[in-house]
């Protein structure tokens, strides 16, 4: 997969809490990218098998709103994104990014 700023930022946001369920809007806020950029990245990650998706339990919403879709890191995704961030850290293109807690 082509390494882009958006991919690295989404990877950092996902690895910030690898075992949690991630929701679209929260993820775009954490990653600091527009949803128009984030959703295609998520689709690519799903196709690679790095993410698994699912739907919120309808009972949990209380019938007030439709159930949301969530994303979870798979074991393969955890490994792949970890490697990706490790490589990005040494890449001059991503020098401006703050890897901090994600590494």
């Amino acid at each position: 997969m082509r390494r882009t700023h958006a991919l690295i930022q989404v990877a950092m946001a996902l690895l910030g809490d690898p075992s949690a369920k991630h929701w679209g809007y929260e993820l775009s806020k954490t990653a600091g990218i527009r949803s128009g950029v984030m959703y295609p990245v998520l689709t690519r990650m799903l196709n690679e098998g790095w993410l698994a998706d699912g739907w919120e339990d309808a009972a949990a919403t209380g019938g007030k709103r439709p159930p949301r879709r969530y994303y979870e890191l798979t074991a393969a995704g955890h490994l792949a994104l970890g490697c990706l961030l490790q490589e990005a850290r040494n890449d001059a293109r991503f020098r401006g990014l703050n890897f901090g807690w994600a590494m």
């Binding site: 679209g24 809007y25 527009r34 128009g36 098998g49 709103r65 439709p66 159930p67 949301r68 879709r69």
Partner: protein, 149 residues
């Protein structure tokens, strides 16, 4: 100075009605507008449901901005999903193929590459990703592959 005032008047005169219309549409009927926008996605695409569901989980003030953002998402992702589906018809999945398709498969490298990549994606989904693949017996994996073909 007079020129600048005139320029501001022209710009504000032209954009104010547009701004008010946008505020009205995105502010009072964001759900309706978003449901129209997601029509750009193919019918069975889960993103249709997902974007609408996300809207109602947002604070009210953020909703018009979210809807406006989804125009970009739907135009790039939804429209391209539609066109790419049109290019590759899913005939390969049911084991029947036209003579033209068989010809393409044999002759065209582009078709073969695309065909095989789609098969692999479909296979990985069927077995439940890499974790599922590791648990699978060889014979079961082969029967899944045969079914896809």
């Amino acid at each position: 100075m007079g020129d600048v005032t005139e320029l501001i008047e022209v710009v504000s005169g032209a954009t104010l009605p547009a701004f008010l219309t946008a505020l009205l549409v995105f502010g009072f009927a964001p759900g309706f507008v978003l449901r129209l926008i997601v029509k750009l996605y193919p019918k069975d695409d889960p993103r249709r449901r997902e974007l609408v569901a996300e809207l109602y989980a947002l604070p009210r003030l953020m909703r018009p901005i979210w809807v406006a953002e989804q125009i970009e998402t739907a135009m790039f992702e939804g429209a391209s999903a539609r066109t790419s589906r049109r290019r590759v018809k899913p005939k390969y999945s049911i084991g029947q193929s036209s003579g033209f398709e068989r010809f393409l498969r044999k002759r065209s490298k582009w078709y073969r590459r695309r065909y095989e990549r789609l098969e692999i994606q479909q296979f990985m989904r069927a077995v439940g990703g890499i974790e599922g693949l590791q648990r699978l017996r060889y014979a079961t994996a082969m029967s899944i592959i045969r079914n896809i073909r």
